[in-house]
Amino acid sequence: MKLALQLTEALSVFLVIFYLYCRSPAFRPLKPDWPRPRGKIRLYLVFSGIAILGNYLGVPVVDGQAIVNARAVGSTLAGLLGGPALGMLVGATAGLHRVTALSGAAAFPGAVSTTLEGLLGGLVHLALKRRPEQLMTPRVAFATTFVGELLHMFIVRYLTSAPPEQVIAIVKAIGPPMVIANPIGAALFMAVLLERQREQDRVAATSSARALKVADRTLRLLARGLGREAAGELAAIIREETGVGAVGVTDTERVVGWSGMGSDHHLPGNPIASPYTRQSIAENAVVFADGVRQAYDCTVSPSCPLNSMVIAPLQVDGAVVGTVQLFEPRGRRFLNMNKSLGEGLGAVLSSQLLIARYQEQKSLLVMSELKLAQAQVNPHFLFNALNTIIAILRRDADRARDLLVHLSNFFRKNLKRSSDVSTLREELEHVGAYLEIEKARFEGRIAVETDVDPELLSLEMPAFTLQPLVENAFKHGLSEVLGEGRATIRAYRKDGEALVEVEDNAGAWTEPRERAGLGMQIVDKRVKNRFGEAFGLSVTCVPHELTRVTVRLPGKGVAA
């Protein structure tokens, strides 16, 4: 019993040492490391150390012929975690040490059995390899070590070259403590390991949560792309959410945004100086320097307080367009960042940039469609307008001159950049020039009324919203009326929204034919792009009586 307590004491020392190892930066999460040679070497060194320590911390019995020891814990765990080869290697190493460094009758059989226990652990590892959640449990560690230690006693009983009564004394002395204490010890080791593993997962989960929180705040921001203003705001948001010392954003050549420490010398516009950044861009990979094994060394200013960093590439369509970088100052013990946070942020921000790119292309498409529609100035309108002016020139040169000015105004406004927003007032002016020409063309046949709430004159809408509607009313409506054609242009408020309407008395609207429909579709698309799906165009038609096209716009922002 006393021996069991002493052995437990020794195991406790192990556990403390092992625990400290697990907390140290040298510890790496085990799972992904398993198959790699580097991971196996690390496992070999750690568990051989534990097994050898087991020899020293053991308690000699039967005149030093045997040692109650915890060596088996090292080899069994090594086998469980790293497979049969590793288990046997650790067992053999510790056994060799037992034989060469410490003497005694039970030394050789002990060495053999430790190696076999490593093999046993390895076999269990092979059996449960596909189900790591069952392999990495204290229960399995306990059972394997228990069976191993029984085997150990059996081997000692029959392989020890000593008088039988001495062998029996040895087994009686070391058996109970080792068979009871070592499995408990192995189970505890496994528990510590598992706990550490879970903690690692928790940190990763927190990192993802933080990355998502950043994403939530940056979505609208990155819709504008990676400009300098957006980059500065982005850096500030990431720093606020993560609590790191500094955050930088670069494109592929320059710093475009910086927030936090070192902002005196990490200036937006500076070329990229850090080799880590260049590496991240070149390899399209996250680069992490924890400040201990690998440190960030500012090449701009020697007084820069920053010494650890994670740099994540930002990519769109597989091409790196920049980086986002998190920094911590020297001497900060617990970093607010790690590699997985960098990875998460990089991925989230990259996808947001992709969305921004997509939206930009979508609006470019709308614009080019519009340009196309505009460029195709209706030749029928142009030649008829010129014909009308030529006719009027015979009788009334002044009026003809006025009409030519209207015609030039109309074409000049058509050439205005289409991305512009315009006010209702500007739209009415544009339409006004068009109407003057059409009124002259259809002299005596068409009357146009305008009924606009003057408070809505500053109402904003995409440029070229009203003109295509009025043109449609003429082209497909009024010019087809045998009697008198009437058109009304209205703007008024209703239920907090602003409505702009063009109505004619032809009632000739049919489901949009290709060409005629295109102009209306573009107007609708542009209004929706700007104000959202709740807004846009609607058409009411009573055949032969009226056609009314209504544009629904947000009423907010216009003085009530």
Binding site: P379, H380, L382, F383, N384, L386, N387, T388, I390, A391, I392, R394, A440, R441, F442, E443, G444, R445, S479, E480, V481, L482, G483
Partner: protein
């Protein structure tokens, strides 16, 4: 030459009038703002040449041509500001056309051509559009009756009348034109019927009567009965 000008735009009519008078080759028989006025004017004035705009409200220049009998068709010079489809048709058929705004030199060529070829031979080749609605006079307004709504058409001393379920309207078009170009079936010397509006046909002692969907009777003459029966798949 006596010229009629048909264009829906006032200033375009006036300008062309001035240009035609300047050539000294024309006297102006009339100015019309739409196709219905033009049909009346052509019947009444018998002009030598019509300057005809293509794009006009309700009834286009091509539809107007379908509504005239061949023997009342004058020479036509088409006028348009821009109409890719029409221009192709003119080129294919070697018809004369003018583009607005009209230049004096170009008009002089047209005058020459008209003097050389005043004949009827080219007229058969005028592009025509199918008649889809029949212009009628209702009180003093012009009403366009969609062809499917027509039950039958009758002619009398007073003129030709289009009969629908609801109304009976006077039209300038002749029975011959409506029979040949609107797909109505002759069932009697003085009647055309729309076969889609036939409800029943009763034949008694060689005297047949068609009842339309709204319950009106249309006589069928012995002479036309076989043709009517054929169209009704009887």
């Amino acid at each position: 030459m006596r010229a009629l000008i048909v264009d829906d735009e006032l200033h375009a009519r006036e300008e062309l009038e001035s240009l035609l008078l300047e050539t000294g080759a024309f006297t102006i028989a009339g100015l019309c703002g739409n196709a219905v006025e033009a049909i009346q004017a052509i019947r009444k004035q018998r002009p030598d040449v019509v300057f005809l705009d293509i794009q006009m409200p309700a009834i286009s220049g091509f539809e107007l041509l379908s509504m005239l009998d061949d023997d009342e068709l004058p020479a036509v010079v088409f006028v348009t500001a821009h109409d890719a489809f029409a221009l192709r048709a003119f080129e294919e058929r070697a018809l004369d056309y003018l583009l607005k705004p009209v230049g004096r030199e170009r008009l002089a060529k047209t005058v020459e051509r008209l003097r050389r070829l005043p004949g009827v031979e080219a007229r058969q080749g005028y592009p025509r559009a199918e008649i889809r609605r029949i212009p009628c006079l209702a009180a003093r307004a012009i009403k366009l009756v969609d062809l499917p709504d027509v039950e039958f058409v009758r002619s009398s001393e007073a003129g030709v009348y289009v009969v629908t379920a609801k109304a009976e309207l006077f039209t300038e078009l002749t029975l011959k034109v409506l029979e040949e170009r609107a797909g109505l079936v002759r069932c009697h010397k003085q009647f055309l019927v729309n076969v889609d509006q036939v409800d029943q046909i009763s034949i008694d002692e060689g005297l047949a009567v068609i009842r339309t969907r709204s319950g009106k009777d249309v006589p069928v003459s012995r002479r036309h009965l076989p043709a009517v029966k054929a169209r009704l798949d009887l």
